[in-house]
């Protein structure tokens, strides 16, 4: 067991398991920075997992399939923004509504497209390719971790850098942070908070859809019913615990990815698999508790008690 834990394959598996959570955590961080909790990540990922299969099969191409899925994710983000910002729907209830529609809508759509209710095995989708990086794959140990990953995994790490630069070095990023921190201040200089939050939520939808795409076109090679299985919710916790920053979200996502990878590896042991399935959720729950408690202590210290 210990030997397995130290093997490059295990670290490789961590990055793989981190990928969908990381995309969703980035999605959550950009929404949170603009002042909105995007709990619809779960539904957007689920929708996108199915769209990824359909679009890549339709176009016969991975990049086109991914692009169309990202557009669809953006549209769902737009829809959420419309209800929350224009119609003043409670953001949590709006997200619950979208997640419900995703649970039902994906089955409805899959049935209409493939004639199957459980999984999309009858559709031949195009998954994201694995990339072997020359030279790096020659490095002992590290090579097996860093090279040979799915393209989406590399994209997710690239997305961390891009999102960091976007939020902290660009005018739009500055506006997003200003709106999230003091909406009135941003509006007083003529920034339309609504427009900025629209952009943040659309972007959030696009990022979450990339995570969804990876689920059915990378992590697995088909869509199965309810395959997001709470990853969107885990990502919500990951982003919050990372202070809603891309880099912080990345680190916490790695932790949760490790829990998932560990769970996957423990499948080989004789521990009942039902208990193993609990590991990612339990890790998140405990992590959330510890993180929140640290915040409480910090405030108590400041108040001098």
């Amino acid at each position: 067991m210990l030997q397995n834990l130290l093997s490059p394959e295990f670290f490789n598996a961590i990055l793989r398991a981190t990928t969908p959570i990381l995309f969703a955590a980035l999605a959550s961080s950009v929404a949170s920075k603009s002042g909105i909790t995007n709990m619809a990540l779960e539904g957007i990922m689920l929708f996108s997992a199915l769209f990824g299969v359909i679009f890549s099969a339709m176009t016969g191409s991975f990049p086109l399939g991914l692009l169309l899925t990202m557009v669809a994710g953006g549209v769902i983000g737009l829809m959420l923004a419309f209800f929350v910002l224009n119609l003043k729907t409670d953001e949590i209830l709006a997200a619950i509504a979208i997640n419900l529609m995703a649970t039902g809508g994906t089955v409805l759509l899959m049935l209409a497209v493939s004639g199957d209710r459980g999984s999309s095995t009858s559709i031949s989708n195009v998954s994201a390719p694995k990339i072997v990086i020359p030279l790096i794959d020659q490095i002992p140990f590290l090579g097996k971790i860093l090279s040979g990953q799915n393209l989406m995994t590399y994209l997710s790490i690239l997305a961390v850098v891009v999102m960091h630069l976007f939020l902290y070095k660009t005018p739009l990023g500055l506006k997003i942070r200003a709106v999230g921190e003091n909406k009135n201040a941003a509006e007083s200089v003529g920034i339309s908070a609504r427009k900025i939050q629209y952009i943040a939520l659309i972007l959030s939808g696009v990022l979450a859809s990339m995570g969804g795409f990876f689920l059915s076109g990378g992590y697995m090679n088909m869509f199965t019913k309810d395959m997001s299985a709470g990853k969107g919710y885990i990502a919500l916790a990951a982003s919050a615990m990372g202070g809603d920053t891309p880099v912080g979200g990345f680190l916490v996502s790695l932790l949760f990815g490790a829990a998932q990878a560990l769970a996957n590896m423990m499948q080989l042991t004789d521990i009942p698999h039902e208990l193993i399935q609990m590991v990612p959720y339990l890790t998140t729950l405990v992590g959330l508790g510890i993180y929140s408690y640290m915040g409480v202590r910090k405030r108590q210290k400041l108040a001098g008690k």
């Binding site: 630069l165 070095k169 660009t170 005018p171 500055l174 506006k175 942070r177 200003a178 921190e181 003091n182 009135n184 201040a185 941003a186 509006e187 007083s188 200089v189 003529g190 920034i191 339309s192 405030r299 108590q300 400041l302 108040a303 001098g304 008690k305």
Partner: protein, 513 residues
């Protein structure tokens, strides 16, 4: 004529008529005062001008052309800038970032050109003689500087018309003087300034003309040099503001509250109260005056149990309340009119009845061990509505639908109906119509005559002067002065204590031992 607003009408969605047929005209290069009590509709009118609210009726004429201002961005584009009473700054960003926010200089077409942003911010600060470190984070600079950042923000965006919403409310006298010098410079360079205030002396000092508002209506525009402060105040409140109550001499009894060596830090770790001690006796009103933010809120929160992290001790009727819950403190017969009625004084979405019993539903009269005695509560609600003159359709009406004055009456009815021995009244008449304010003041005096101990915190100097039996001034978390003979204090003198220009070394009548 730079700007005309004609016959503006604004009704909020809760049915409150904030502006009713209001008109105002601005000349180029003047400082124009907009004068009125809290809730007179000044802010609403300015929100209409700045594109935050859209008027239900009326027109805006800018430089001779009728125009519609659809958003703050639109207002800024048309050369209107606004400095809000509550600063519109993003604390975690730097001064330069706040100034350029929304109009960022770019490099490579995509990134913020931060070096350019800093040099531009420094340039404009220099042009108008503002001494500011533009690289400092806003959360780390003092209030006076924050206000300068606000003005610079507007100027950076090319504002010709500058709206200042109660700009001196948070400033020290020196900062105020400095501000006035700068405003005069801006006026001389051709800017038009709307100066919102209810401080008559300041208006006299720097304004050219004044438009006076009262309960949503305009009372006319006047040349400041032609109108006396008495006349202005008469127009503002509808009669001469001499609050005279046929007040009986106070007859203080036993000490009901002792505060000893109280120190409080807020949750950012800033010292808000430092080693404060005083006594409060039954049958007296202790007035606490002071510029907002000098520890008044922290003092009230500590006494009423809302803040539990303080050093020192507070005794209410010989009970040390350090370990007491808010409920236990209230059970010592303490009533509390909170500073902000909507934040903590009521639940707007619940009805009047539900708002009237939150402090006494556990009383045997209104509930058994488990169930509420609905019938009795309804009867009592009807009595209280009549007794406290709450204008409403029935006790089933949601509190949020009432006017400010009526909401305050509901709160007062609730807090006074328990027949408290101690009343903590924090800004009890703020934003309340004249009738309701007088009603509340009279009630406070009645309770004092019955032997109740009262702490009155108020920004309304007239109110503290006319009601208090003892008057304390808070400055930087301490009492800078304590007056046992209120009639002997002048308003000017009080002002000097409030602004920290004067300080009593030895204070008498603070503690009775």
């Amino acid at each position: 004529m730079v700007l005309q607003m004609n016959h503006i009408m604004k009704i909020y969605s809760n049915g409150v008529v904030a502006n009713e047929d209001v008109s105002i005209e601005l000349k180029k290069g003047e400082i124009h005062a907009l004068l009125g009590e809290n809730g007179a509709g000044k802010s609403t009118l300015m929100k209409v001008l700045f594109g935050i609210e859209s008027p239900d009726e009326g027109q805006i004429v800018l430089n001779g052309q009728e125009t519609a201002i659809k958003s703050p961005q639109d207002a800024i584009n048309k050369g209107i800038g606004m400095v809000h009473q509550h600063f519109m700054l993003v604390p975690s960003l730097t001064v330069a970032e706040n100034i350029i926010l929304g109009v960022e200089p770019k490099k490579y077409g995509f990134f913020i050109h931060m070096e350019k942003a800093i040099s531009e911010a420094e340039e404009i600060a220099k042009k108008y003689n503002f001494d500011i470190d533009v690289r400092a984070k806003v959360e780390e600079i003092p209030v006076g500087i924050k206000q300068k950042v606000e003005i610079l923000k507007a100027l950076y965006r090319g504002a010709d018309i500058l709206i200042l919403d109660e700009p001196t409310a948070v400033l020290t006298p020196q900062e105020t003087d400095e501000l006035f010098v700068q405003l005069e410079k801006l006026r001389d360079s051709g800017h038009t300034i709307i100066f919102i205030s209810h401080k008559l002396d300041e208006i006299k000092k720097i304004c050219n003309r004044a438009t006076i508002m009262r309960s949503g209506k305009s009372m006319g525009t006047y040349e400041v040099k032609d109108i006396s402060t008495e006349e202005m105040s008469r127009l503002m409140v509808g009669r001469d503001v001499i609050l005279t109550f046929d007040k009986k001499p106070s007859n203080p009894k036993e000490v009901l509250m002792r505060v000893r060596n109280l120190s409080v830090r807020n949750n950012q770790g800033v010292q808000k109260i430092e080693d404060l001690s005083f006594d409060l006796r039954g049958g007296e009103i202790l007035g606490i005056a002071g510029v907002e933010g000098n520890g008044q809120s922290e003092l009230i929160d500590s006494i009423t149990g809302l803040n539990k992290s303080y050093k020192g001790s507070i005794y209410i009727k010989d009970t040390d309340i350090e370990k007491s819950s808010i409920k236990e403190i209230r059970d010592l017969k303490l009533g509390h009119i909170p500073e902000d009625r909507m934040t903590s004084g009521c639940a707007g979405n619940l009805n009047i009845l539900e708002n009237l019993f939150s402090n006494q539903y556990t009383n045997q009269e209104y509930s058994g061990k488990m169930l509420l005695k609905t019938k009795r509560i309804q009867e009592r609600s009807e009595e209280l509505i009549v007794e406290y003159l709450v204008k409403c359709k029935s006790f089933r009406q949601n509190v949020g639908m009432l006017s400010g004055g009526n909401i305050q009456k509901v709160i007062v009815a609730r807090e006074f109906s328990t027949e408290p021995d101690i009343i903590i009244a924090n800004q009890p008449t703020r934003g309340v119509d004249v009738g309701a304010a007088e009603f509340i003041r009279r009630r406070l005096l009645e309770f004092r005559d019955k032997g109740c101990a009262i702490i009155l915190v108020s920004a309304d100097l007239n109110e503290v002067f006319s009601l208090s039996d003892r008057l304390a001034v808070m400055y930087k978390g301490k009492f800078s002065g304590m007056f046992t003979d209120v009639s002997a204090v002048t308003e000017e003198e009080l002002g000097q204590y409030m602004l920290g220009l004067k300080h009593q070394e030895v204070q008498e009548g603070v503690i009775y031992e």
